[in-house]
């Protein structure tokens, strides 16, 4: 940690000095990702199943970002992201079933509220206690939360118990109903772009600078007088809202939600997306989600390895995580750029 701190600080100084000269790869990657995602439905217009797949990928990217905000940016090992994801998914399904309401302008903010409230409750318990929690405590706390939620809904008649909820009312905007396809994809992509932009502002703001400091040396920041846990809680709640949004879109898109959407299994999936793509950046989790989902789609459909494709996928993931700890993104983006610069630019030009 100590070494990393000085190195990080030196890098930060260098970045400040050489900002004008250095060629930045990250914006290029981001732009390329945006262009490909926007172009996808036009390129794939003939292949409805692939548009469906891409919609799923975009929705899960949101979910991966929500985890990365916790882990990559604030050092909270959250195994509870699926809890916010799944709970919001159940709520929009129930609102559709019992209140016959599925207007996205109402339900998507509601989903974010649910995610936000649940993460706030969990944060109050796990992060804002009298004693400073260890990262193990937080990891197990969130894991337990997700596990308990999964057990709870799988025994609860009102929410369909082991069956989950199916035939979810279609998401609507006015009189228009979204089945899977280009229209749904546009909504999901718009959500991703908005969330991405908001997160980018957040992590590059002064608050983001505090987070970066915390990642390097939390104790030192605390001695400076920062209430470290409060900053963590803020990010955790923001991430919870994003997970909620993602969960609601996922439920609407699949037309189904079940107990496994709430559990540790899905939470771990978010961890893998993030580590595979490159944690500590916002585009990393998106790339990770795209790579893993496309890879599993192709592998699962290859007859020769039909019975054991998950093993192959697992080996690939293992190799990347072991030998490329900065993820796929680390192959093309330098450490300096991943850490980045903060705050408002002054006198840059």
């Amino acid at each position: 940690m100590g070494v990393a701190t000085t190195r990080g600080a030196a890098q930060a100084r260098k970045v400040r000095g050489s900002r004008k000269l250095a060629f930045r790869v990250l914006p290029v990657v981001e732009l390329a990702a945006l262009v490909s995602l926007v172009a996808a439905p036009f390129v794939l217009a003939e292949r409805a199943a692939l548009v469906t797949l891409m919609t799923n990928i975009v929705i899960l990217s949101l979910f991966a970002i929500s985890f990365d905000l916790c882990w990559g940016f604030s050092g909270i090992m959250s195994f509870g992201q699926a809890l916010f994801f799944g709970a919001a998914g159940y709520v929009v399904a129930l609102v559709g079933r019992d209140l016959d309401f599925s207007q996205l302008l109402g339900t998507l903010p509601l989903a974010m509220l649910i995610g936000g409230l649940l993460s706030a409750a969990l944060a109050a318990f796990l992060l804002l206690g009298r004693k400073t929690p260890t990262s193990i405590f937080v990891a197990f706390g969130t894991l337990t939360g997700a596990y308990a939620a999964e057990r709870l809904v799988s025994g609860w008649h009102y929410v369909g118990a082991g069956n989950g909820l199916s035939s979810i009312k279609l998401m609507a905007f006015g009189g228009f109903e979204f089945v899977e396809g280009a229209a749904f994809y546009s909504v999901a992509l718009a959500a991703l772009v908005l969330v991405y932009a908001a997160s980018r502002v957040l992590v590059r703001s002064q608050l983001g600078l505090v987070l970066a400091g915390m990642r390097q040396n939390e104790e030192r920041l605390a001695f400076f007088g920062y209430r470290v846990q409060v900053f963590k809680a803020i990010v955790f709640i923001f991430a919870g809202m994003i997970a909620g949004l993602s969960g609601a879109l996922y439920s609407y898109h699949q037309g189904f939600t079940g107990p496994s959407n709430l559990g540790p299994g899905l939470s771990t999936t978010a961890v893998i997306y993030c580590l595979f793509g490159g944690s500590g950046t916002l585009i990393g989790p998106v790339l990770g989600t795209v790579a893993i989902e496309l890879l599993s789609y192709v592998l699962a459909d290859t007859d020769a390895i039909r019975q054991f494709w998950p093993v192959i996928l697992g080996v690939v993931l293992l190799v990347v995580v072991m030998f490329q700890p900065t993820g796929l993104l680390g192959l093309i983006v330098s450490a300096r750029e991943r850490i980045g610069s903060f705050g408002v630019r002054r006198g840059a030009r």
């Binding site: 199943a49 369909g160 037309g255």
Partner: protein, 413 residues
């Protein structure tokens, strides 16, 4: 016993020997994803595309694989006889992996990518409920559900070819009460919709016949510890356990019930989805005396059924996945044949409306356990029902058929 691991092991073995069987039969497995079984001749109108969505992997893989094999068997028979009015059937498989979350995505592949004309499959009710919306509503495709189930599925374009609670309970429960003299029932159940609604119906029949339900309880599907349940069975002087726990919770429950000496002390275990395939899940001694009621047992003495079994055994020699009723395999056979009848009636038209209209009153003169007939306007089929008791001898189990009822009405919708 670890049901999942076992199932996977068998899946792989089955895969290898299955691949051999396919080549022998002249099928060509596709390379472009999913399992594709293509017929050997082409037709101007193109093939009829039939999608099978079933559990090839996961907790109920033994049943799912039986379904898939029966579908291949039935389709091959039809193609060997020249297809449906000359049009061959092309068969597509997607694995629903015993997990509704995965299933939804895979079923969409059948519909959006393969553009199948009909989907057959789904075993548990959880699975049916998860995939019916992507098939029938969003996918605008015909759906045939082959498994015995809880009833009340009256969705347009969704046809049920397995038995309903009325078909399973109306004869069985009075038999247990009057002939076997059991009066105190326990209903340990998995917590999902099939047990809930089946129990509701069974309770009505039990109470109408003067019996008593001592308890009706629901457990998570993967519960492994049942000592509290077992002691309630003892304390409540239960003499018939009407079980609706399913795998993976099933194996530990049956084991613990057996070890408590329930059967030894004269108790009867009844389980209406139990067939010859389910014996794969348990040691033989735990099965002695189990009583079940289904639309077919291998012991049924019917020449056509026996020909079917011989054909199936020839196509899949030494298979672990049997052609039986409780695993939805008979429903699958019926589903394929009903579809054939319906397309014959439309003169080869494959539109969903036309085929559904014809399916509505399709009749099969023969099938496993006898013929069957859709009840017009009710989305369910009349069929023969049999009561059977399991006997175990020298580590082997078999069913003895003790009662038959002809063309029982499903009383649904």
């Amino acid at each position: 016993m670890n049901g999942t691991d076992r199932a996977r092991g068998m899946g792989r073995r089955r895969f290898l020997s299955g691949a051999g069987a396919l080549t022998a039969a002249g099928w060509i497995a596709g390379f472009a994803g999913g399992w594709v079984l293509r017929p050997r001749w082409a037709h101007a109108a193109g093939p009829i595309k039939m999608g099978i969505a079933t559990d090839i992997t996961g907790a109920i893989a033994p049943s799912g694989n039986a379904n898939w094999q029966v579908a291949q068997f039935a389709v091959e028979q039809i193609n060997a006889a020249g297809g449906i009015l000359g049009q061959p059937i092309e068969l597509y498989l997607e694995d629903t992996a015993s997990d509704p979350k995965i299933a939804v995505g895979n079923v969409r592949k059948l519909i959006q990518e393969r553009k199948v004309d009909v989907v057959l499959g789904g075993i548990t009710s959880a699975m049916r409920q998860a995939i019916k919306d992507p098939i029938v509503n969003r996918g605008r495709t015909l759906y045939i559900y082959p498994q015995l189930y809880e009833g009340q599925e009256c969705t347009k374009f969704l046809f049920n070819t397995g038995p309903s609670p009325a078909q399973q309970c109306d004869r069985l429960i009075p038999y247990i009460m009057k002939t076997l003299g059991k009066k105190r029932f326990a209903m340990p159940s998995a917590n999902y919709v099939w047990p809930q609604l089946l129990n509701k119906y069974a309770r009505k029949v039990i109470e109408a016949n003067g019996g008593e339900v001592v308890f009706e309880e629901y457990y998570p599907l993967d519960q492994a510890e049942y000592s509290a349940t077992i002691s309630k069975i003892k304390d409540g002087k239960v003499d018939c356990v009407f079980n609706t726990i399913i795998p993976p919770g099933l194996q530990p429950f049956v084991k613990q019930l057996y070890e408590s000496g329930f059967q030894k002390n004269g108790g009867v275990l009844s389980c209406v989805y139990y067939d010859e395939n389910l014996l794969n899940y348990h040691p033989a001694n735990e099965m002695e005396g189990l009583i079940s009621c289904l639309d077919y047992f291998q012991a049924v003495n019917d020449p056509f059924s026996q020909t079917l079994q011989q054909g199936y055994a020839k196509k899949f020699p030494d298979t672990k996945y049997l052609f039986t009723a409780g695993s939805a395999a008979t429903g699958m056979y019926r589903g394929v044949k009903f579809y054939e009848e319906a397309v014959k009636a439309t003169g080869g038209k494959l539109g969903r409306e036309e085929v559904a209209a014809a399916l509505d009153h399709a009749v099969l003169s023969e099938g496993p356990g006898g013929g069957a007939a859709m009840v017009p306007g009710h989305y369910h089929a009349k069929m023969n029902m049999y009561i059977a008791v399991c006997k175990s001898e020298a580590g082997k189990t078999r069913y003895d058929v003790i009662d038959k009822a002809d063309m029982v009405d499903p009383r649904e919708c």
